[in-house]
Amino acid sequence: MSNSLSPDHDQRLKVLLKEFFEQFFQCFFSRWAERFDFTDLTWLDKEVFLAPPQGEKRQLDLVARLRIRPDAPPLQSELTELVALVHVEVESRESVQPFRPRMFEYYTQLRRDSGLPVLPIGLYLRVGLEGIGWDAYEEYFWGHRLLRFEYAYVGLPSLPAEEYASGVNLLGVALSTLMRTPRERQAELYAESLKRIALSGENDWRRHLLTECLEAYANLDEVQRLRFQALLETEPYREAKPLMITTYERGKAEGKAEGKIEANREMALLQLDARFGPLAPEVQQRVAVLEAEQLRQLLVDLVKVSSLKELHLED
């Protein structure tokens, strides 16, 4: 039953979380949502550092620097800091065992680098635990606990899809396909979620992100799929169907355009390699970042020129 949780999907999930960051808190940590000022937010997730003891470079999923509202309770007694970091790390594996020490490493590193208070949150796609709570990493020496590090977590598989799919929070709706659903309700909930997003009044881009997430993690079998398609023809969906189709078509058209660009890039690289190859990594990198129109031009120019310089692929 394990549907592929591709790195691609997880990458786009991060884009969605960024776009709906405030909703993320409202959805899962509503008490905290009102303590942050989401209008004063900077993303720091480009941050890459050496994570001991492995010493490798790591990129954290999401790190936001946020202002805390002055009327929120103090973070610690005698601490008047009004800026904090929120670190959200997505875990898509079936076990969170290796994730726990990593969260601790990230935490210590973030604290050391920034000097700011850090709120760490794990978002579990495949492990439910208690749904929402505190998970912990511990270290022992001869049975004595030296350390206990806690971080907040959301374990989507333990949350009731029914409740979130029909709730007001659109991010909750989009994540509902990762939540606990009775098999016989899957098709209905999926259709209902798509309808909610279609009628949400959000702009095209945001609707597209939400729909993508819902689709990416949906796990309908053949029976449920047919049932879903039949449902779309029924009265409750009549109103939403045109919008649902628009979102679908937009996604499809965007994918298609991207696929064509890839095909052109592939052809350009093959032709360049045949004529001037083997290609230096710098040349490949330059081709990798060309946009649609530049690629088309390159393919045209390729027949006329005799050097990479003339194609501006070499200095």
Partner: protein, 70 residues
């Protein structure tokens, strides 16, 4: 499961490859016979890629050697 965007991307890649293959064929061999066009239309993603590679790396191959003609 595969999203609509990803399905579109796959289709776009195949369509783009097919267009590029046809472009190279026409450039090399002139107007194509309907049978040749039909054979190209029936190729899947991987076969199209192979044909593209052959067309570019071995510019002297004939339509027959490219398996587009009997």
């Amino acid at each position: 499961m595969m999203t609509t965007y990803e399905r579109g991307k796959l289709e776009g890649r195949i369509e783009g490859r097919r267009e590029n293959v046809l472009l190279l064929l026409v450039t090399r061999f002139g107007p194509l016979a309907p049978e040749v066009q039909q054979r190209v239309a029936a190729l899947d993603a991987e076969q199209l890629r192979q044909l593209l590679v052959d067309l570019i790396k071995a510019p002297s191959l004939s339509l027959k050697e490219l398996h587009l003609e009997d």
